[in-house]
Amino acid sequence: MTEIVIPPGAALWAGALILPLLRRRVRAAAFVFFSLASLALVFALPDGARCDVRFLDQTLILCRADALSRLFGIIFAFIAAAGGLYALHLRDTGQQCAALLYAGGALGAVYAGDFFTFFVCWEAMAAASTFLVWAARNREARRAGFRYLLYHLFGGGLLLLGIFFLGAQNGGGLEISAFAPGSSAAAWLILLGVAVNAAVVPLHTWLPDAYPRATVTGAVFLSAFTTKAAVYALARMFPGWDVLIWAGVAMTLYGVVYAVLSDDIRGILAYHIVSQVGFMVAGVGLGTEMGLNGATAHAFSHILYKALLFMAAGLVLHTTGRRNLSELGGLGKRQPAALILYMIAAFSISGVPFFNGFISKSITVSAAGEAGRQAAALLMLLASVGTFLSVGLKLPVFTWFSRDRGLKPERAPWNMYLAMGVTAAVCILHGIKPGLLYRWLPYAADYHPYSRVHLSETVQLLVLTLAAFWMCRRLLEPHAGTVLDFDWFFRRPAAFFRFLFVDTTGRFFDGTARASLAAVRGLAALSRNPYPAPARGGVEAGYAQDRHRPSTRTLVSIILAVFSVLAALALLAVR
């Protein structure tokens, strides 16, 4: 009997089609149902399951299940459900459909067995996620959404070019497999395309630009899918590429430095996505079993705690209407539950023992140490210090403590707290029972994070970071403003380029159109009646028969003149 294999993303894409047909008030609940259905499909797929489809002269592998795709499948489907629960109060069908398409694209990409399917899912993610930014429906979001889309179209273009090269190189074969380090131009192009989505510095600016401007609920989905689907792609295609180690380490530090300067709470979290994805990119670059386990485990943990962080920040934005640290403060007494749930995520991202980030980050840093990359390991530890500084200390201190600005937050919907509670519970569960995560990792894991040596080191690192923060807390007072990033290189000269290529070209075309129209009008009038033009220095539109018709003697004179000239020419020709 042939086993039917259904790609898990299909449940979410089917949901996006069905959702608008349902009654308005059940759509939000249906969103959670479709997400849970995709989670069930993930668990139903055994290792090695495939779904091949003939398309033109290609065999498309719509679904190919193994340990790596299952790990990402589980967490993508779970976070889609948790995000759906968080957005249960939402009555915005466009946003719900976009989120389902987005999550379906991410699941499709991690199960795709060929580059064509992968590319289609990849671009579906880019298009759908843009709507989650635009759904905020304000000028800032519209502009940031366009920049986001342009970046992803650029990345998609590189990816497609790489796929064309690969197809030409392999005689049309497009099955996804790991590339040998530095193997071909096709591999480099695909790597660059994936690097855009992984927010590798300096191709990262779409992330801190767009995520803080997305909707409260949309940002939760955004934080989970795009960068982690890219981490999956890197782990699948580029394990052991040395360049990724240093690209990853640079990301870890770049993100934490910018987070210190950011004022927007979701901006701080966005820069910490860059930083945390850096750990995963470096883990993939190591290419060892432990490195890849660390990268994938950290992606799994990161999706959970980062979604929880965005949920808590979104709750603050939803209830107060304020998004900047410089406008917040003193919310702790009025939102104690939000504070506690936020701190669970903050402790997780900071690598505090008994929270999931402690496990996954430790595996990655230890993998670097064991691979003999001591400098990389040390720099990643420094980035961990920066993470605790910004997300674990600065953000909560200036949002929930510090100066009480007398804010009176609205009551948040119960479903927001429930979604945060469920996500927080999983963060703690994986922190105290790492084995639950280990069994889903791509390679057998034998790592013991709770050794006394490791606990001692972590305690020292975190407590002394706290001490340094306490000493410098006045210096870290938030300031409103813009922090320049690599997007300066295209945003600042944008006005000049707009003048050169848009305004100047537009003026040229307008001028040409006006001149052509004037010429046509003049010629039309002239052909109707050419007499008044030389006489009056202008063209007269009306034609008066008595006034303008030439006299008979004039016509006879012209005819005689023409015949005389023709006769003279004929005589000359005969001679």
Binding site: V260, E457, V459, V463, G481
Partner: protein, 81 residues
């Protein structure tokens, strides 16, 4: 209320300092074993405490220095274009 807060703050600081001293004592009396893969810094007792403290100050100095030098601009920097 202020007294309660002061007492809580002092208790927390003491507990954290106690944890650091305990970890330091552990590192001094139980150096990392030969069998474990050890980086050079893991053999130095208190290295992580120093690294956390100095690293944090260095990151703050670097970020604020870059911010003051050229990264920080007013909120309408791009909107003025």
């Amino acid at each position: 209320m202020t007294i309660v807060r002061t007492i809580l703050r002092a208790a927390l600081a003491t507990a954290l300092a106690g944890l650091v001293f305990l970890s330091l004592a552990f590192q001094i009396f139980h150096p990392p074993g030969e069998s474990r893969h050890v980086s050079w810094w893991e053999s130095i007792p208190g290295f992580f405490a120093l690294f956390g403290f100095i690293g944090c100050l260095a990151l703050i100095a670097l970020a604020l220095g870059l911010g003051r030098a050229f990264l920080r601009k007013n909120a309408r920097y791009y909107d003025d274009d």
